[in-house]
Symmetry: C2
Subunit: 198 residues, 2 copies
């Protein structure tokens, strides 16, 4: 039964379509860079439908950010698991995936960082903070499997490389091998931390 009881057209499908269509537009032009009018026009959706599903523009923004965070996380997790069991290979896979992202013509930096730079208020910050937390979990897990003495600290250092590489790639173009340099730095840190000190 593709349609839930008591309704004719599936609202959940409409909602998902709106989120999917709004995501690239809000990412490219910025959360405040595109108004509701243009948003509805590009989405092929009436104003009333948008407000009935999300209540406010901020609600749509939160839904878009949450969906994007989930998507990025699934993408990264898939890249890691596809890299095999070696923690170094897994870490290299993370930065290779980032390199692919940087080379996409639509790349405009980390959507979470961009969003937080604009709306340093309420619920958006919660979403971006959770996004970074999930990233940290992924990297700390790699650090732990590599036998790092302090997986949490190494994970945070690796997270800095991930976000820093994204910032540098955003501002210095994708041509230079930003992802490759970040990967080498990450592997060097991982190797140093896996080796007992002294």
């Amino acid at each position: 039964m593709p349609v839930p009881k008591g309704s004719t057209i599936d609202p959940a499908r409409t909602r998902a379509a709106i989120v999917d269509a709004a995501t690239p537009l809000l990412y490219e032009r910025g959360l405040d860079g595109v108004g509701v009018a243009e948003l509805c026009a590009r989405l092929g959706v009436s104003r009333e439908t948008l407000y009935r599903h999300f209540g406010t523009k901020g609600g749509l923004v939160q839904a878009v950010l949450q969906a994007r965070s989930d998507r990025v996380h699934r993408w990264m997790a898939a890249a890691v698991t596809a890299a095999g069991a070696d923690p170094a290979d897994q870490l290299a896979a993370v930065f290779d995936a980032l390199g692919e992202w940087y080379r996409e013509p639509t790349f405009r930096g980390c959507a979470m960082v961009n969003a937080a730079a604009q709306h340093h208020d309420d619920p958006v910050r919660a979403i971006t903070a959770r996004h970074l937390d999930r990233y940290l979990d992924l990297l700390s897990g790699i650090a732990a499997r590599a036998g790092a003495a302090d997986p949490g600290a190494l994970g945070r250092q690796l997270l800095m490389l991930v976000e820093g590489a994204t910032v540098v790639a955003t501002h210095h173009g994708a041509a230079a091998g930003t992802a490759e340099q970040a990967r080498e730095a990450a592997l060097a840190l991982l190797a140093a931390a896996s080796r007992p000190p002294g």
Copy 2:
């Protein structure tokens, strides 16, 4: 002669005062988060004066960003020169300075990254790109003095740590020793690159 020929009140002084007063406000609330009306009210400046000096709000934004970039660069350069001749000490001084910044209650992330996230258009991007370039020059110089095989590549890796640490500090609070972890990572990369491979 504090006053230039042919004028009564020094316009340059007024302009500098406007830039100084607008800087923290635009940094805290975002470039688009504060309107011209409130801006003038907080600055104690009439609308006409602001537009005569900067032509448009974008002109004021560019002047503010340029001034902040200059100030940050002077601050970092001073921290480096005060650290002595050892490149490792100089690099540590950079991250210690960052740590002080992160702990300031007004810290809200890198103003250049925030600005670029909002206005990914022409002149703002030029200012932020030059800001990162100057940062890169500073770090590459340290890498070169440390005898790195590829000072440019190491400089970019260190730049990633600087910007990444700033992002993490912005989203994870200043409590955790973000700057210290970044400093250790940077020193580890510097030591590894100064040592001949193999």
